[in-house]
Amino acid sequence: METQLKKFGQLLISLTGVVILWSLFANSGFISQDLFPTPGQVWAAAIELYQDGVLVSDLKVSLTRAAIGFSIGASLGILIGLLTARIKLISIALEPFLNLLRPIPAIALVPVAIVWFGIGEGSKYFVISYTVFLAVWLNTHAGASDVASTYIRAARSLGASKFREFFEVIIPASAPHIVVGLRLGAALAFLSLVAAELSGASSGIGFRLQDARQFMRTDRMFVGLIELGILGALLDAVFVFFSRRIVHWENA
């Protein structure tokens, strides 16, 4: 409790400091406030977006996209990661291909995704789940290939079937790696979400950023950027909170 209070205090001090510096800089006259708005202007823009209703609706749209894309990518990543790690034939068939996919950034897939799925939701899901899949697959694969042989020997000498070995030993033993992959995947889901929304979307935080550019509304852009920062940080904190409980033995 005391450390949480400390952390909160630290956050407060750090944020206050940033806002003060930002305010001083924006009001200094070195740079036009059209290019670099003050905290007050950004706050006003946020209120304006809220009153228009788009702040909440964008948030909903973007979060839904991220959540759906994440769910698809994460489930596939865990499934295929376990298979490539534990089944030789599948590893031989899939690993080289997946290693070729790895260096292709999500943003490079956006044009293809738009051609394939249009500018609707399909292309967003595709780009996000692709990114999430690769991160989750890679970590799951690493974790599940690296299960300590003592665990497997112990399971077998205790008469566990292959089925139980997989579900009661391999999966929990790889869980810490899977959780790391999911956390990384959640962060990447946001990155690719914005990439997908910046080009070819009619709603969402990324679209709102692009839209603001057309009218030189840097204050609105700042709202979008701050929104993304807060969302990402919150999501990560929630993730850490749950993963500590899921793989509780890792922090013992």
Partner: protein
Amino acid sequence: MSAAIHANDMSGVGRIHIKNAAVSFNAPGRRTIEALAPTELVIDSGSFISLIGPSGCGKSTLLNAVGGFVPLSAGSIELDDEPVTGINPDVGVVFQQYALFPWFTALGNVMFALKRFKISKEERLSRAYAALKEVGLDGRESTYPGQLSGGMRQRVALARTFVTSPKVLLMDEPFGALDAQTRVVMHDILLRVWEAHKATVIFVTHDVDEALILSDKVHIMSSGPGRIIDTMEVAQERPRHIDALGEQFLKNRNHIIKLLRQPGAADH
């Protein structure tokens, strides 16, 4: 209880016959390393034997061969006249590293061993509780291994292995990581549980006192290639407490230490 009781019990199951068994590994550069030279050994059912020697003497290899973890390059190993062909749940293992599953509680770990039996959940639970009580861990059932001390973890491992009443128990330096006092406690628990379950125990150690306190027979091994160089029968009655050991114990101890010190017998 005394060792004499077990001498009467040797008609039971768990007799191991190691018939000229050898193990070799492929090393880089097309070399093969003979980890265990052809070895002939009979281990009476229900007896407690130790394998002692320096690292690299093949004691763990011999143990792993009995457990079916490493294939033989020659010879065979028979458990109650059946050849050992792989991992067998009749052969329980307590590993050197703590091989408890950290994601299961103490109770969950013991239950894991019982799941292969077609018995009711209530029966399973009551046997698991009884096994933990037997090693003095009642009240700790829902504790995770990460929250237990090293000695307590090995007690869970012991309960997990003995709960299925295996014919043979293999122990690879199970108490190597524990401090001296905890070891003494563990020795008492191990002997008590062993006497209750009558399994044949193969105990690997490099601690001479530990081997002499626990075993009916001590096989001294040497490296290059790994082989048994001497066997010593320990006739003293149990319990054998380290602070009240007679002259015979010291003689045995000196004999083993001398053997281990011989050139070629020790590699470190």
